[in-house]
Symmetry: C2
Subunit: 206 residues, 2 copies
């Protein structure tokens, strides 16, 4: 019997390397699915429906909210973004672990709704390296970098609410560690309730 | 810098295969040390001091209790048994993870004293298999087997206090999973306080 997968929430500072890490994880190991968000914003050239996002009209998105079809949602700069429950549930039922990248407030919402979700926080090996990575991208102004560093300070206050921290030093080593954390987490007593009950009842009835 | 190791407490039903599992773990991977107990009982032929046990006189053992030199201790059939703090500390300082096999009440004592200890409970894949293993040993009377099964029912009530359950089906697979659980556990926020503080302060001071 294939066990239901677990919902894995990944947060972390901008520049910590979440994106590469998740792509690596899904590419290297079987049994993972990256959650695809729904949005009411217009597709950009090259963005495919169901791959980059599930594209919805504002009305469709609001209907999804009303019907409680989203795991979480938020509005940024006039557009809705959210995580469709259907995709997540389908993948979990198939036995896949669903990876969901989301910022810290969203992660806390999910933990409330799904206490069995696994929360992982991706960190750079040091603050200096985080700054060097943001500067190194060469795509951001000094002002944007400064804003991101300030935001990192804020976000760092919430790290203790996560189950694991993932220190992104060497990408391959880090991917393997992340995989092991996720798979190990399936063996906590609260995620093995059915098995424990089975053995307990079996012991009583022998 | 080599990080300090963690204290790993292993409990489980008689017949669940704890002994083989721990021997396998220590044989297959570096960085583990099996805790050696102290006892006031006399050595049996072939038992070596510091390997099977640290053999002590009753007076020496009581002096260790008074001096708070034991992680935990208990008295069985007129003999003292306990875990010397010195060995555990030395190994942890070296960066080794120390494995300590102990029954459920002892495990709870350790969790109180060392909240950062990792508690693992070894389980058979089913109650039937546990019974079959006990019967298969061929060394126990039906009465002893019955007593062990009753004891297993009692012990099973405490499983939720453990961090992980280790399902001992295939021994090699199980050893690898156990290793991954232990290594993953080093990345919970409460075991990475120094690192989190370092990054947090670093972010503020940049």
């Amino acid at each position: 019997m294939k066990q239901r997968g677990i919902l894995v929430v990944v947060s972390g500072f901008a520049g910590a390397g979440k994106g590469t890490l998740m792509k690596n994880l899904v590419g290297k190991y079987d049994g993972y699915a990256l959650s695809v968000s729904a949005t009411s914003r217009k597709p950009r050239p090259g963005e495919e429906n169901g791959v980059s996002y599930f594209f919805k009209t504002r009305e469709e998105f609001e209907a999804m909210i009303s019907a409680d079809e989203l795991v979480e949602h938020a509005e940024y700069v006039g557009n809705y973004y959210g995580t469709p429950k259907k995709f997540v549930d389908e993948q979990l039922d198939k036995g896949n672990d669903v990876i969901l990248e989301i910022e810290i407030q969203g992660a806390m919402q999910i933990k409330k709704k799904f206490p069995e979700a696994l929360l992982m926080f991706v960190m750079p090996p040091s603050a200096e390296i985080l700054k060097a990575r943001l500067v190194g991208r060469g795509t951001e102004t000094a002002e944007v970098i400064d804003k991101r560093m300030k935001r990192a300070v804020e976000e760092s206050e919430g790290i203790e609410n996560y189950d694991f921290i993932v220190i992104n030093d060497d990408i391959d080593e880090c991917t393997e560690k992340m995989h092991n954390m996720i798979q190990s987490s399936k063996y906590t007593p609260d995620r093995q309730k059915a098995f424990i009950t089975m053995v307990r009842e079996g012991l009583k009835n022998l």
